[in-house]
């Protein structure tokens, strides 16, 4: 499976939760597959999906899922110790690990070579780190939500993209409707 196929499959699970979605194609895909006010689309700032999601989870009680990529986690690797040391049991970091920088032309990442993000997360002190195959992402994600334990999921999938339009929604509109969903 490629990332967009995973997102299509887990969309029914995502729509009931607060989602912080990574820059570029992941946000464009989620926006086309199942646009919800409870989705915060990142239009810039590569790497900060996990940080925004953790801040949000620490500030309120609803479940927050940050959808991230292996390349973006590598960009902001300092996020993993911060997550490990500030446990929010309503926070799930879903790393869709296709071993490549999808939005920029599928250049390989180090996660697709020798670096194992699940081992990095564990070494940083994260307690619930689950590695799964693409087809099992929905099952693992639902189990993480039900467990009410902070969980890092590394979902291994194939590299590849579908052609999509960019998101033209105004960022303040995205943010405002998201905050209304958070507060509702």
């Amino acid at each position: 499976m490629i990332r967009s196929e995973i997102l299509r499959e887990i969309a029914p699970i995502l729509r009931d939760q607060l989602i912080v979605c990574n820059i570029g194609l992941p946000s464009q895909e989620l926006h086309i597959i199942d646009d919800q006010p409870s989705n915060f689309y990142m239009l810039g700032t590569m790497g900060l999906s996990s940080s925004i999601g953790l801040g949000l989870a620490l500030a309120q009680d609803k479940t927050v899922i940050s959808i991230d990529g292996d390349g973006s986690v590598l960009t902001n690797l300092g996020t993993l110790p911060t997550i490990a040391n500030n446990v929010a049991n309503n926070f799930i970091l879903l790393i869709i690990d296709n071993g490549s920088y999808g939005s920029t032309g599928d250049q390989p990442t180090y996660a697709g070579k020798l670096t194992k993000l699940e081992a990095v997360a564990t070494a940083c002190g994260c307690e619930n780190v689950v590695t799964c195959q693409d087809v099992d992402t929905g099952k693992v994600l639902q189990a993480a939500i039900d467990s009410k334990q902070m969980t890092i999921i590394v979902s291994k999938c194939d590299s590849g993209n579908i052609k999509l339009p960019v998101i033209t929604k105004d960022p303040v509109v995205i943010r405002d409707r998201f905050m209304t969903a958070v507060a509702s």
Binding site: G44, G47, L48, G53, G55, A59, T82, P171, V182
Partner: protein, 168 residues
């Protein structure tokens, strides 16, 4: 009352309850005070752009955030300020140790000090420079202004404000 306590009192009085920090010798007392206050959730970050992400999330979750950092980090956070904090119109008080100003003992700190105000100006970030201890009287109004207009605001606190580095 110490200046550290007064600064953190102003944060608490303005309902700032989520503070991320990157260590700094000048701001060590403020960081210690932030950590000690039950009204504030203190979350140290490894890098300032990460810290701004945490603050953005906390604000969308209903908490008022602040970041405590050094001015060298303006060089690290330009993209995050432009594409996250400003683009989505979010408030962010930045309490900044202004290294490289008068009484600075480390020459390299001057290299970012000379760019600090120019960068903040280029970013259209409202900037306040605390040089004397009495300047801190404006902090309460600056915090109210930040959360009124939903913008990042820089508060530069230099070595003279902190009374030097203790070795002069």
């Amino acid at each position: 009352m110490s200046i550290d306590k007064r600064i953190v009192d102003d944060l608490v009085a303005n309902d700032v309850s989520f503070v991320t920090t990157v260590p700094c010798k000048q701001l060590a007392g403020v960081i210690e005070e932030v950590d000690a206050r039950p009204e504030i959730f203190h979350i140290p970050s490894n890098k300032e752009d990460e810290g701004m992400g945490l603050c953005a999330g906390a604000w969308m979750g209903g908490k008022r955030p602040a970041i405590i950092m050094q001015n060298t980090a303006i060089g690290v956070t330009i993209n995050t300020l432009a594409t996250l904090i400003q683009y989505y119109r979010m408030p962010l008080p930045m309490i900044i140790s202004y290294r490289g100003e008068l009484r600075e003992p480390v020459a390299c700190q001057v290299e970012m000090a000379v760019h600090t105000k120019a960068l903040l100006n280029q970013m259209n970030i409202p900037t306040y420079h605390f040089h004397k201890e009495s300047d801190a009287a404006e902090l309460d109004a600056i915090l109210k202004y930040t959360f009124m207009c939903n913008k990042p605001v820089a508060i530069l606190t230099d070595a003279s404000f902190w009374g030097g580095y203790g070795d002069q």
